[in-house]
C-alpha cells in the first residue's frame, strides 16, 4: 500500500571523490547558516513578548461568580457528562441558611476538579453549562513539576471576588439573545415581587 509519493529507495553506492572531500557540502551548509543571520527570527522572547491570540482562545477555565459575588455553579454535572476527555469531577453540597451570598442556588459544588492533563480545551463544558458558570479564558495553564499539581480544584478555578475575569468575548450572540427571551430568565434570581410589578392585571 502506497500512502505518499515521497518514497526514496536507499542505495549503498560508493561516494564519488567530490563527495568524499566533504568541503563543498560544508560550505553549502555554512551558506545556509549565514543566510539566517539576516532573516527575521521565527521565535519570540517569551515571556517579555507574547504572541497575539484569537479573541476566542480557549485556555485555563474559570468558574464565574454572579454580580453579588455568589458562585454560579450549581454542580449539575452537565459539563462533566459533556467532557469527551472525562477530565471534570465534582461533588455537591446543600446550601445552608446564611450562605446565600456564597452560593447562588440551593445546591452548589462542594468540590470541583479539572485534570488539566486530561483536558483537551475543546470548550464543550462551557457550551453545556446551563448556568453560565464555566468559561475558558485566554490564560495559559502553568507548567508544573508534579502531575498532581495539574489537578485544579476550586481554589484555582473560582475567580477571586476582587480580581474578576472578563469573559464577555466568549459570550456569543446566541447566548445573549437567549437571555433576552421573556420567561427564560434562567440567568436571573427568582423575584416574585419584581415580576408582579411588571404584570398588573
Amino acid at each position: 500500500m502506497q500512502l505518499t509519493n515521497r518514497k526514496v529507495v536507499v542505495s549503498n553506492k560508493e561516494q564519488s571523490f567530490a563527495e568524499r572531500l566533504y568541503l563543498p557540502a560544508i560550505a553549502k551548509g555554512m551558506i545556509i547558516t549565514a543566510s539566517h543571520l539576516f532573516k527575521k527570527p521565527p521565535t519570540i522572547m517569551y515571556p517579555e513578548k507574547k504572541r497575539p491570540i484569537a479573541p476566542v482562545y480557549r485556555g485555563q477555565h474559570v468558574l464565574k461568580r454572579d454580580e453579588n459575588g455568589a458562585e454560579r455553579c450549581t454542580s449539575c454535572g452537565m459539563c462533566a457528562v459533556a467532557c469527551p476527555a472525562e477530565a471534570i469531577t465534582m461533588t455537591s453540597g446543600e446550601r445552608k441558611k446564611g450562605e446565600e451570598h456564597l452560593y447562588r442556588e440551593e445546591k452548589y459544588a462542594a468540590t470541583y476538579e479539572i485534570d488539566m492533563l486530561r483536558c483537551i480545551f475543546c470548550g464543550l463544558c462551557e457550551e453545556a453549562c446551563p448556568k453560565e458558570a464555566i468559561f475558558l479564558t485566554d490564560r495559559l495553564v502553568d507548567a508544573q513539576f508534579e502531575r498532581k499539581d495539574f489537578i485544579y480544584g476550586k481554589d484555582k478555578l473560582v475567580e477571586k471576588i476582587d480580581a474578576r475575569i472578563d469573559v464577555t468575548k466568549r459570550q456569543t450572540q446566541a447566548v445573549l439573545d437567549f437571555k433576552k427571551l421573556p420567561g427564560l430568565k434562567h440567568n436571573e434570581l427568582f423575584d416574585a415581587k419584581k415580576l408582579n410589578k411588571g404584570h398588573k392585571h
Binding site: C76, M78, K107, P182, G183, L184
Partner: protein, 327 residues
Amino acid sequence: MKVTIDGIEIDVPKGTTILQAARMIGAEVAPPTMCYYSSLKTSGGYCRTCIVKVTQGSTANPTPMPKPVASCRTEVMDGMVVENTINKDVLEARKGVVEFLLMNHPLDCPVCDQAGECHLQDLGYEHGAATTRYEFPRREFEKIDIGKYVQLHMTRCIMCFRCVKVAEQLTDNRVHGVMHRGDAAEISTYIENVIENDFSGNVIDVCPVGALTDKTFRFKSRVWFTKPVDATCDCKKCSGKVRLWMKGEEVLRVTARKDQWGEAEEFICNTCRFERKNTSDWKTEGPSPIHKSSVISQNHYENLNELKVKIMKQQKALGFTPFDKRP
C-alpha cells in the same frame, strides 16, 4: 376484538384500554403517560398526555370520535381505528398538554435529583416546544417536612395523583393527600404529619417528576454518574428485587426495578430502599439494561462488545478485511 393503532392491527380481549393495546404493539406507537400506572388501580385520566384520535369508533358505528380521547381511560371497541403518532393534530394537542404541564414547573433541572430519569424531561424533549410563552410568576409553596426519608418539592409537582394511589393501595394508613383546589392544589400531609409506613418509599418511584425524591440520596450524585446494578436480598417484607445505583463500591441509592414504560416491576419496602446501603447486604445479578438513548448510558462501556460485533458486521457487509485478518 380487533383494533388498529397507527395502521397496525392487533387482537385484544374485551375491556382492554387503547393505551394497553398500544403497549402490546410496542413502544413506537404507545402514547406517553404521566399519571397512568399499570399496577395502580384507578390511576390515569388526569394529565391528558396520552390523548389519541379515534378515527373510527367501531365496525358497528364507524363515526369518528369528535375530540381526542385519553387512551388510558378509553376501552377499545371491535374494529376501532386509532391514530397516535401519524396524526398531526394529536401531536399538536400533546404539545399543548406539555406546555400546560410545564407552565408551573420550575426550570431547576440542574438542581433536581430526578434529572436524567425524569419523565417530564423526556416528554418535554420529545413533544414540547423549546421555549415558553408563560411570563407570570410560577406558583410557590411553603416548604414542609414529610419525614426523614422522602423529600417533597411541591413546586415540581404536576398533580398526577400516583403517590396518593400508592399510599391508598399499598400502605394501610394514608396520611398524605392533595389539598386545596386548582392552582393552589398541593400534596401535603396536613399539620405536618410524617409519612412513615413500610412501603411509603414507593412514592419516590412512582413520582414522574422530582417532586418526591430520596432524602438519603439528596445531592449525592447526578443519576448519570451512577451505575445501575440489579440485585436481590432475602427480605421478609418485600420481594427483595431491587436496582442499586452504585458509584465505585458505594451504594448511593436503591430503587425498584423499572420496566420499559418506567414503571416499577415490584414495589419494595423501606428497609431495602433506605437502610441497606452496603454492598454486603446484596447479591448482585449484573448491570441493569439501560436504553442507549438515556443519559444514564453515557460513559458506560458495558455494551462495548455488542458495538464491536455490530461494527464488524458492517465491515463484512462492505467487504472490508479487518487489519488483524490481512495477509
